[in-house]
Every structure is written in C-alpha cells, then in structure tokens.
Symmetry: C2
Subunit: 248 residues, 2 copies
C-alpha cells in the first residue's frame, strides 16, 4: 500500500475543489482505479464558504457564561453552541460535543488555519459532498476512486489527534468480520474494522500540519473494496456505544 | 510512504519474535533505515506466553455476578477483573476498562485467535518489549528502525476498530505542534499529532484480520523522526482528558 500527499494552492471560498485535486494528482501521475482520495474536512468547508466572521456573531447569555468559565471568546462559544447538537462537557476551555452523530471538540469549529478573526465550521453535508467529489474525480480522471472526508479527532486518555472519516463515498467504511474464522478456525466474535478511519489516519501521516498545504492524500493499493455507495455509516447511536455514559 | 504487511508462521509461546520478523522482512528485501516496524500486541503476548487456560481460573463472586449479567463465561470475567486496573462500565457483555493507563475493552483479554478454551492477555511490559524488539531488529538488520506495538481499539460512537499504539520505541509517539504557524501565520493553539496511533492504524490496513497471519507491518518513508528513546508517552491522565467523566 502506498500513501501520497498532494500539495494544493491555498483553497478559498468558491474554489472548484475537484479540479484542484485532479490537477494536484499530476504530482503522482494522475489517479488510478482503486485509489482512495482522502480530503481534509477543512478545505471542503473552506471551498463551501463555511467561514464565519467572529465580530458578526452576537453571543447568547449561555455562550457568555461558558466563555467566562472557559476563557474562549464568547463569539466562538456561541458559534460552537449553534453548531453542536449536544454539549457533553466543558474541559479547560474546550467543549466536548456531538455534531451529526460524531463526538468532536468544539463541534468542529476551528480558528486554526482560518484568517484572523474568522472561524471555519465543519462541511455542511459531508456525505453529499463526498459523493459529489467521487463523481467529479471519477469523471475527471477516468479512474474509479473512493473518497474519504477526514477530520482530526482526540481520543479518551490519549494525547494527540488521529484521523477520522466524517463521510465516505465509494468504499465500505466498515468491514464486518463477525463470524469469519480466527487463527484456530473459531468464529471471530465481535469484529468490525473501521477501514475509513484507518485510511484517514494513514492519510494524516503524509498530510503533516495543515500549514504545509497538503490537505489531500491518495491511498493506493489498499485492500479496500470499492462500491457504488457506502452500505452503512461508521457511526453508532449512544445506546450501542461502549463508552457513552461511562463515569469516573 | 509505503506500508507492507509481513506474513509470519503461527507464533507460539517461547518463539523468538525478532528472528521471525527479520526472516519475514526478506519478503520486502529486508529492513531499511527509518522503517517503522508495527507489531500486533497479540503475537507479542503469545510469544511471551501470556495465555491462560480458562478451566484453571476460579471465578470470584464478583466475576460470577458480572458474568451472569453479561453472558460471558465467569472464568473470562475473572481474568478481565484481574487484568484491569479499573472497570468503568459493563455494556452488552463487554467490560470497558482501564489497563496500564489505556482505555480498552475487556482489559485486552481476548479469546479470538487463541486456542479453544484459552485466552490471550496483553503483553506484560510492552514498553520494554518494544525497546527489546527495536534493539534486536536493529542489530539483526543493521538498519535503524522504530517499533510500535499495536492493538485494536474502539472509539466513542464509532463502529469498528482502528489501531492504537500500546508501546513504542525509537520514535516520537506524539508530535507537539503547539505554537507552529498555521496557514495564516497564526500560532496553532492546541495540536498534538498522535503519530504512533496513526502508524498503528495505517498498519491495520495491511494486516487484515489476524486469521490471515499478517501480524507485522513495515511503514517506510513516513515523515517520522527516529529517536533513541520516546520522549513522552501518548497516554494522558484522566484529569487532562476531554472525555473522561462526560455524562449522557
């Protein structure tokens, strides 16, 4: 398996991301059948214009209250509250939230790699965008490819971020291995492989920091099945989650 | 960056794992300077003889009680309780535990890929073993390599497992990017990159299921700094964790 990072020019609102990726793919001789194109959610969001000027946000009393405790600007907290489906916890100025079924810090609202005074939100409809990217990249390159839109995520009791897929198109994001034989021929009991999240993490190794302008990675010759549509989502509801509701 | 899976013969207690890995590395023309060798914790544990016969375990009343509720064999629950530093939750027969500062299901005790009636525990001293592996692989190959011992881990609200490093040697497991400039020259605020965990996930893409006997992966030409010792651990204590203690 090979993983390539693709450098892109600075992405701005309204930019034609598929064309930029196709052009950048010249760096590796173009896309090939079976390639998985991993795209940072940040550039997807910027191209969609999901950028907010903080000075134009009017904070609610609730945002003011959390801001006072957390040391964040109240306008930023207000944006986070608007974006979040649910706030689970405030910890050292960071809000742990659920957004579109994904646990994430600050509902994905981020000041990093945004122009001064502005915040970047998560893409609006990442699943739709992933599918649109897939169709555009496939028709533009003639190669049948898969797409992962990736974000950075922190994990319980771990320092540092790995990649996580917030949307996929054209691949099976999770492989169901239940019932497959183990080394001794016994059926594996509970085993799903989070292929899309693994791809997102492999991509982060070549993406480096966003400041290096490598917001796209191509994973080649991975043992990943290309399909016309994802069969299921890697998200699970809280009632099925091993962690959710665990106490100290 | 390239990622290769290495097939190994079935590993048994007492096996000389470094020699087996060195031999398997012939499949890719041997190890090279800068290679990161990712080894499944499962084969490390088996080589160390960390296998328990369930019929020889006497369950405590506490284990019997949890077993009755969870549908697991009481002997298995007893083993999990002995291995776990802390049990956070029991969910559909799975115990969410902390073991050596890592959150994991069933304290890493696993019946999969173990002979019938036996369970495999986590390696005893993974950090020491990682360092021993690094020294043996380096002296055996003449190449300066890094080592990651990887395990599978599930994540909040996600279906499926990714890789996680339970120990590393010879690499920086986490890169501290605080203060580095973002796309607009502003300092990045809170950004650590969990390189070791990303390497473990990239490796899982080529390892496939353990039944395929690919318990080792080599990551080549990753932008990973090789060092003589890890400078810090990717683990954080509960008081620094964004998730810990979050309620429904």
């Amino acid at each position: 398996m090979e993983v390539f990072g693709l450098s892109l020019p600075l992405v701005e609102p309204g930019d034609d991301l598929p064309s930029m990726i196709l052009k950048a793919a010249d760096q590796i001789g173009g896309l090939r059948d079976g390639d998985i194109v991993v795209v940072s959610s940040k550039v997807v969001a910027v191209a969609e214009g999901r950028i907010k000027e903080l000075s134009k946000i009017r904070p609610s009393p609730k945002a003011e209250k959390i801001a006072a405790k957390s040391g964040q600007p109240p306008e930023l907290v207000e944006l986070i509250l608007r974006e979040a489906d649910r706030v689970l916890k405030v910890h050292r100025g960071v809000l742990l939230t659920i957004k579109d079924g994904i646990i994430c810090a600050n509902a994905g609202v981020d000041l990093s790699n945004a122009p001064t005074g502005k915040a970047i939100l998560l893409p609006r409809h990442p699943e739709k965008t992933a599918e649109r990217l897939r169709l555009a990249l496939t028709s533009g390159s003639g190669a049948k490819v898969g797409v992962v839109i990736s974000d950075s995520v922190v994990h319980p009791l771990r320092l540092g971020t790995t990649g996580q897929a917030i949307a996929t198109a054209g691949i099976e994001p999770v492989i169901d291995c239940r019932g497959k034989p183990d080394l001794y021929g016994k059926p594996l009991k509970l085993t799903y492989r989070a292929i899309a999240d693994q791809l997102a993490s492999a991509a982060q190794l070549v993406m480096g920091e966003a400041g290096e302008r490598v917001p796209v990675a191509v994973v080649r010759e991975a043992e990943v099945e290309l399909v016309n549509r994802p069969r299921w989502s890697p998200k699970i509801p809280p009632r099925e989650c091993l962690y959710y509701g665990a106490r100290k």
